[in-house]
Amino acid sequence: MADERKAITRREVLGHGLRGLVALAAAGGLGALALRGKATTAADTVWQIDPEKCTECELCATSCVLTPSAVKAVHAYAQCGYCELCFGFFEDNPNNMDTAAENQRCPTGAITRSFVEDPYYQYVIDEPLCIGCAKCVKGCNAFGNGSLFLQVRHDRCVNCNQCAIATACPAQAFVRVPADHPYLLKGRGPSG
């Protein structure tokens, strides 16, 4: 049987067959999975917060694998009331309506308040300072227009396969979104 010239073992025959078969099946199967997905969403996904589901629990600040978190507050100016007494900016019952630290809600002083015209003030997020704790978002949602909200900032996010904040999020607000529309923005501005 085992001729010197054609000494091919059963294992080798199996191996050759299996290699071809597995390569074909795997490529076909995964191709089908990828294409099926393409019909509904783009192939690559990134993590994002659905601001409508977010409950400002403050876990974004501490659960991210990055320090500070890749989540930051974002301001939808089109939705902002430009209030003089901004509940995103000021503590409850501030001593004075000025920019002293004791009056500010933000623990890192990451919101810049500036006068626009009587009686309106503009509030800008200083992103490098923001830690994504959502204290301002909570204030703005509770008493204001809800123009402040949290978003995963994709210049920082390392796009972990399993987002650590998504695991911790009690509101299931973390969703995978197509990489070509990586933001879920609030307000009247164009999204994406």
């Binding site: 294992r11 390569a23 997905g37 589901k53 409950t55 694998v65 949602n141």
Partner: protein
């Protein structure tokens, strides 16, 4: 409508965000020439690294195959290991890796709305394809998880055979559980308990850092404990590597039976020649094999039954089921107070019935999934017993292709590798 009005008012009061678009303070019409600042939304930096990641993975796999099979150089493999730690580990923060990609594939199968990204498919397939041709070269020097254990190995202890065989069932269980959890959308277990990712991210929760420290400490005395006794991707590689076209051959010409390679292998992957006579006797071996073959369907059924009833416990890991359980307890006054999760649920204003129905659906999935998982575990244990009682004949010391991670440590110890022909003749 009238009946709903009080509910609507109540919702407005406690659910300010739910009343989306309702503005308490209308945005002002400015008299001065004011323009709101433009918020920059930086795009994800994915486009170039995707192509780079895949091409570097291909290059690394090819290099690993070349260094282990052709050059037979442990030093080269070590250098490659360091390179891969630097890129796949520290630069790319260990994500996405082939080990974790199993879950993306499972999620894409289980949840039709999830699309399998191309890069993930490539990371899943390439090392498997490589295993079919050149064995587990991915483990040798490319995998950042394997690399972390490989470079801290100081003094490997021999794991006793009984323990090694018992623990080698764990990766199959881990794989089954990870696939079940990913396919039901309950989260990615492999990523959550990844023991080495904290090193590459240089951050982690106390639990993760604890696992990392423990695993690294263990890796100094036990060769690659994660790869051998936990890694779910290793299971797939284990299946494919025995069919590799080219694989690690220790003695270049003829084995001189010195067992130095077996002593040198820190991963217990080198099998000695089998004795000419079966120590237990042929008859006894045969009856044991028959017993295990009969036991196989029994284990399968028992595992399936246990899994079916255990599915309900596992389903508690799914957020929806967990919230539903909590809300149900709260509604029936069995617990006091609320959790962050039940608060979030109440705030969204989703009807409780809908939540309970969704949870029931997921529990059903887990009943079926638990059945499969339990059956799988029973099957794995049964097959392990069967394979243990099958005798294979070996005349030389050989690397077990399923277990060999192609690290190249044994080459240096083989007298055939360097000795001149006349010396070898004397030994023989």
């Amino acid at each position: 409508m009238k009946r709903l009005y009080p509910i609507y008012c109540w919702l407005l009061l406690i659910l300010p965000t739910f009343a989306f678009g309702e503005e308490r303070f209308p945005p002002p019409e400015f008299e001065s020439n004011y323009h709101a600042p433009v918020v920059q939304n930086p795009p994800p930096h994915t486009v170039w690294p995707v192509a780079l990641d895949i091409s570097l993975l291909v290059v690394a796999l090819a290099l690993a195959a070349y260094l282990t099979l052709k050059r037979r150089s442990r030093r080269g493999v070590f250098a490659l290991t360091l390179g891969c730690i630097a890129y796949f580990g520290f630069v790319r923060h260990g994500c996405v890796c082939p080990v974790g990609s199993i879950q993306n594939v499972a999620l894409a199968i289980g949840q039709p709305q999830y699309a399998l990204p191309f890069v993930v498919a490539a990371f899943f397939l390439l090392p498997l394809a490589a295993a079919l041709f050149v064995g587990r070269v991915f483990c040798a020097g490319v995998c950042p998880l394997g690399a972390a254990q490989d470079i801290v190995l100081l003094k490997p202890l021999k794991v006793p055979a009984w323990l090694e065989h018992a623990l080698s069932v764990l990766p199959y269980i881990y794989l089954g559980a990870a696939v079940l959890f990913a396919a039901t959308g309950s989260g990615f277990l492999i990523c959550r308990y990844d023991p080495f990712i904290a090193i590459y991210r240089m951050s982690g929760t106390p639990l993760m850092l604890g696992i990392t420290a423990g695993m690294l400490a263990l890796s100094t005395v036990v060769g690659r404990p994660y790869c051998r006794f936990l890694c779910p991707y290793g299971v797939l590689l284990r299946w494919l590597a025995p069919f590799a076209r080219w694989r690690v051959r220790i003695a270049p010409k003829a084995c001189v039976q010195c067992h130095m390679c077996q002593d040198a292998c820190p991963y217990g992957a080198i099998r000695p020649p089998t004795p000419a006579e079966n120590p237990g006797g042929r008859r006894e071996g045969k009856s044991r094999l028959v017993l295990y073959l009969i036991l196989l369907p029994v284990l399968l059924a028992a595992g399936g039954a246990l899994g079916y009833f255990g599915g309900a416990v596992l389903s508690g890991q799914h957020t929806t089921v967990r919230v539903a359980n909590r809300v149900w307890l709260e509604e029936h006054g069995k617990v006091k107070g609320t959790t962050l999760e039940s608060d979030a649920f109440h705030r969204h204003g989703q009807p409780v019935d809908e939540l309970l129905q969704n949870a029931a659906k997921i529990r059903k999935q887990f009943d079926f999934g638990g059945l499969l998982l339990g059956g799988w575990i029973g099957l794995v244990i049964g097959l392990k017993l069967v394979f243990l009682s099958i005798r294979r004949r070996r005349t030389d010391y050989e690397a077990d292709p399923a277990a060999c991670v192609a690290c190249g440590r044994c080459y240096r110890f083989c007298p055939e590798e360097h000795a001149p022909a006349e010396v070898l003749e004397k030994i023989q």
